[in-house]
Symmetry: C2
């Protein structure tokens, strides 16, 4: 009866995907059922299959949308003439922005990717490893140029990526901290530390 109404910008498939992201985030991919997803849309489960191929396709779309966004941002950052610390700052700010604006998708990509099916699982992991590797190379070049302290570049990248990824549990503190404060203080912490 109820018809899937496409948002002003987006097909019906996009609407389903977005609702799926919220549901996968809340319940986890495995615990989220197609019947439940259909219910949040106001439709019976089999009707979804007029628009999508399978449940796991929804996960693929979400994960690769996020992965592609980060990859293409890194592409353009690498091409700027900024110093390494400036580039790192830009990357951190982009991660934080993604976390704040596309929280559902980013959360799902970070937490539910293991339920991707082959060959998507391998593709996703390769893409992520490639991203990390390029980030490590960026840090290495900054150390060589004397713009960064001598430290293990892997650990530095690990620390930065982990810190921004953890923003998911900032959602609970939204009332206490503004997005601007969060972004500035975290950038500062990760670049300059907190010890006096």
């Amino acid at each position: 009866m109820a018809k899937i109404r496409p948002g002003k910008n987006g097909s019906k498939k996009d609407v389903i995907t977005q609702k799926a992201a919220v549901l996968f985030k809340t319940k986890g991919y495995s615990s989220a059922s197609m019947r439940e997803l259909a219910e949040t849309i106001g439709v019976e489960a089999p009707s979804l299959y007029n628009h999508i191929g399978s449940k796991s396709e929804l996960l693929q779309i979400i994960c690769f949308k996020v992965a592609d966004a980060f990859t293409s941002h890194l592409d353009s950052t690498e091409r700027t003439g900024e110093t390494v610390p400036e580039k790192i700052e830009a990357i951190i700010r982009f991660h934080i922005g993604m976390m704040l604006n596309d929280f559902d998708e980013v959360y799902v990509a970070n937490h539910e990717w293991k339920h991707l099916k082959e060959p998507y699982l391998s593709n996703f992991l390769n893409q992520r490893r490639g991203y990390e590797k390029r980030f490590v190379q960026l840090v290495e070049s900054g150390i060589e140029a004397g713009e960064l302290k001598k430290t293990d570049p892997y650990v530095a990248v690990l620390t930065i990526l982990s810190a921004v990824r953890g923003l998911e549990f900032w959602q609970h503190h939204k009332k206490n901290i503004s997005a601007a404060t969060l972004e500035d203080d975290m950038v500062n912490h990760l670049l300059n530390g907190i010890a006096k």
Copy 2:
């Protein structure tokens, strides 16, 4: 036929719980089946119920074992006469140590807690919120004492906890980075930054 053999230190229930942690980590709580858990132990699924109450009890045990370990470490850290930066360093090192030594359990506690049933879910979240709150207070006192830079204490705690939590994906780089390097560099990064 095959009997559950208790490890030298631990009941049969402990053996099951430990294997469950590995399985929950690998497949996720919802995707992990009792049949599969039983198989890794070498027994039929219903036999497990001679030792445990339910699948979700296993998750409870794992999550609260981890939560209690962190809480009680914070208890003792608060009572030392160290400076605030020293206390923070101790906390970071404890987190890293837990990640390296009890990886399976910590991973599950961090990723699968949402599948806890009430009232355990609320208890767990309350315990975690309490931990964060006490950590924030510690940072606040360090700022007041002039031992830390003036920064938002929530953001600082968020950054530190997120960074150490992300150590889960260091497992893939084990060959490249020693545990000692990792620990020292991360502590240094989080306290002093990487920018020159």
